[in-house]
Amino acid sequence: MPNIIVDRISKTFGNLQAVKNVSFEVNPGEIFGLLGPNGAGKTTSIRIMLDIFKADSGTVSILGGAMTEEKKNRIGYLPEERGLYQDIQLERCLVYLATLKGLEESEARGRINDYLEKFDLADARKKKVKELSKGMQQKAQLITTLVHKPEVVIIDEPFSALDPVNTQMVKDLLKEERHRGTTIVMCTHQMHQVEELADRIALINAGETVLYGGLTEIRRRFASDGVLVRAVNSLPSAIPGVQEIRPHNSSTLLKLENGKTPQEVLNTLIHQGIILEHFEIALPSLDEIFIQVVNHESE
């Protein structure tokens, strides 16, 4: 049974319909990407899921039903608007927020110490939060999201303000959490991160769900008739069944003629004595799909 069921939620602020009949489900132990351009309604959807906002219509089931005070302890949330108490010591701030999530103080201290070591923040524990860099605060915020070992984690732009090293560390952490069985909803613009991490996605545009499903399935759905090849020897200038040949990064994209299959083109290349290093069906990147869908919607 899905851990999160969002069923046709709608929300209007004044004259603005922020969310319109948005629906999706998130299964236990998966990373779910909630994508969309700025102002698409992602954050409003998250706030409705977390019972911060009340939906005008539709329902949300989280961990088997409506949100309760008890369930708040089983959910970790990293909001888009990052916030920590600036005027107190980092350790005290983290312990306070962890105890509000139902941890005993001694247990919270122990776990926070482990996280501070892991995130290379141990030396900053007695520093005031306002003295930390943006990246350090981002990592501290992530600790507050994960410290109580939540069953559901909802993170809004988890990689903002992080350098490549810390980005990789967060990615590894999210993979660990998934491995642990945590359900993760990741809201981000950074498509390459989603491609690397997410199992399934929902793309929201202008308050509506415009794309929803497994990542591979969606990429296949948007795949053009082409293959990517890399050969040891050079490719001929014309290949039967291929209407266009053009370079694509370190490979070459072969655009197939209508009715031709990748298998047929592969056979042709082998018969022509081309020694292949690499052959794959050209799938569009999530960035390309995102732009394609959003542009199509806005037309």
Partner: protein, 405 residues
């Protein structure tokens, strides 16, 4: 053991605020201010004091064989000696050459008119008149039996009792009168300080952008209750500390100055103050929290708070009304109206016997308004928590969908 979340917020609020420099300065500023005022008073009296003797001419020997007023224990400034002169010209000469600071002439018809002429110079101290007055009274009654002489010097120990016998107080028991005034002033100061802390705390949640983290961890009701109670204790800590300083001062004062009073603590008065101040504190704190949630920035919140606290101090402007007409319509109305009651009710009770039904009604109204304020602040807090730079309007809080944005 897992702790209640309201308790966690309460503890965090209290620990955060009592460790602030502003709080410590606030706690120490009042006793330091009082000590400074006492010192200034002492120094000004000392500067006005002239230890040089005064002279007197008692033409009709109304004082007989004069005696100097015996020195009292712990008297900061001993009384000046009064030197007799046979005639006014010798006294005038002594005044001119500076051996005395002033002289007093008891006129021929002193017993009929009480008339005494004081001749002074610019150097005459402020103590000369008072000290000679004591000297005159002391010598006029010195031949009377000691008990009678004491009574004549000290006057009657007047006890004022109400017609129904329910209230009784000594006429010089100024502590009983001063207590509600002082308590009221301290209440206003403390409520402002801790209310402002609460307001800052709520605004800080918005400024720090911690609202979303907090409301996904704890309910707004629990959060507001923890904040209100935490800041209530901050205010009470401040009041209690000042109270301790006051007790110490009252204990120390008689060892330094010959003040003669034995303040009687009226338990009913204390109970009344506590019964009005506690719900009033909750009411004010909750409203302050609500203001914090509606405001867009701390400066705006501060401005709104200023307007909000004015009605609370209104009874202090009508001190004479409470003193001379404690059962008049205005006094009764202010002691029943919840916003003015915290100060007006104990204040009025210092001057009259307030009917029991009025006390019960006043405290009940205060408790109801405090509960309403808490409810309203929770509602406004929920509406205003994620609004940055946009104010919450009061009518939104009362709208049907006002429980959630």
């Amino acid at each position: 053991m897992k702790m209640n979340k309201t308790w966690l917020v309460f503890r965090n609020e209290y620990a955060t605020h009592v460790k602030k420099k502003g709080f410590i300065f606030g706690i120490l500023s009042m006793p330091l201010f009082v000590v400074l005022m006492v010192l200034v008073g002492f120094v000004s009296v000392w500067l006005e004091h002239n230890p040089a003797p005064v002279g007197f001419i008692d033409l009709n020997h109304v004082m007989g064989n004069v005696q100097q007023v015996p020195l009292k224990k712990k008297q900061p400034f001993p009384p000046v000696h009064s030197l007799p002169f046979e005639d006014e010209s010798s006294a005038e000469q002594a005044l001119r050459d500076g051996s005395i600071q002033a002289y007093f002439l008891l006129t021929d018809n002193y017993f009929n008119s009480g008339e005494v002429i004081m001749v002074t110079t610019e150097k005459t101290g402020a103590n000369a008149e008072h000290d000679f007055g004591d000297f005159l009274v002391h010598n006029l009654v010195k031949d009377q039996p000691p008990v009678l002489a004491e009574r004549l010097r000290e006057g009657p120990n007047l006890i004022i009792r109400s017609l129904d016998g329910a209230r009784e107080m000594a006429a010089d028991d100024w502590v009983s009168i001063l207590m509600p005034i002082l308590a009221g002033v301290l209440f206003v100061i403390a409520v402002n300080i801790s209310g402002n802390y609460l307001l800052q705390a709520v605004v800080a949640e918005k400024e720090n952008r911690t609202m979303e983290i907090i409301v996904t961890s704890i309910s707004p009701g629990q959060l507001m209750a923890g904040k209100v109670l935490g800041n209530l204790l901050v205010g009470l800590t401040q009041l209690f500390t000042w109270f301790i300083f006051a007790i110490i001062a009252l204990k120390l004062l008689p060892t330094v100055f010959p003040v003669k009073f034995t303040p009687r603590v009226d338990p009913a008065g204390i109970l009344l103050i506590a019964a009005t101040f506690l719900p009033a504190f909750v009411m004010v704190a909750a409203f302050m929290g609500a203001i914090g949630a509606t405001a867009t920035d701390p400066r705006e919140a501060q401005q709104i708070t200023g307007w909000f606290t004015i009605p609370i101090v209104i009874p202090l402007w009508f001190t004479n009304v409470f003193m001379f007409n404690p059962n008049g319509a205005l006094s009764v109305a202010m002691s029943l109206f919840p916003v003015t009651a915290p100060i007006a009710l104990p204040f009025r009770a210092a001057f009259t016997t307030v009917p029991q039904w009025q006390i019960i009604l006043s405290i009940t109204l205060l408790c109801l308004l405090a509960a309403f304020a808490l409810w309203l602040s929770g509602r406004i807090f929920r509406l205003g928590m994620l609004r940055y730079g946009k104010r919450v309007r009061l009518r939104e809080a009362f709208s049907k969908s006002g429980s959630k944005p």
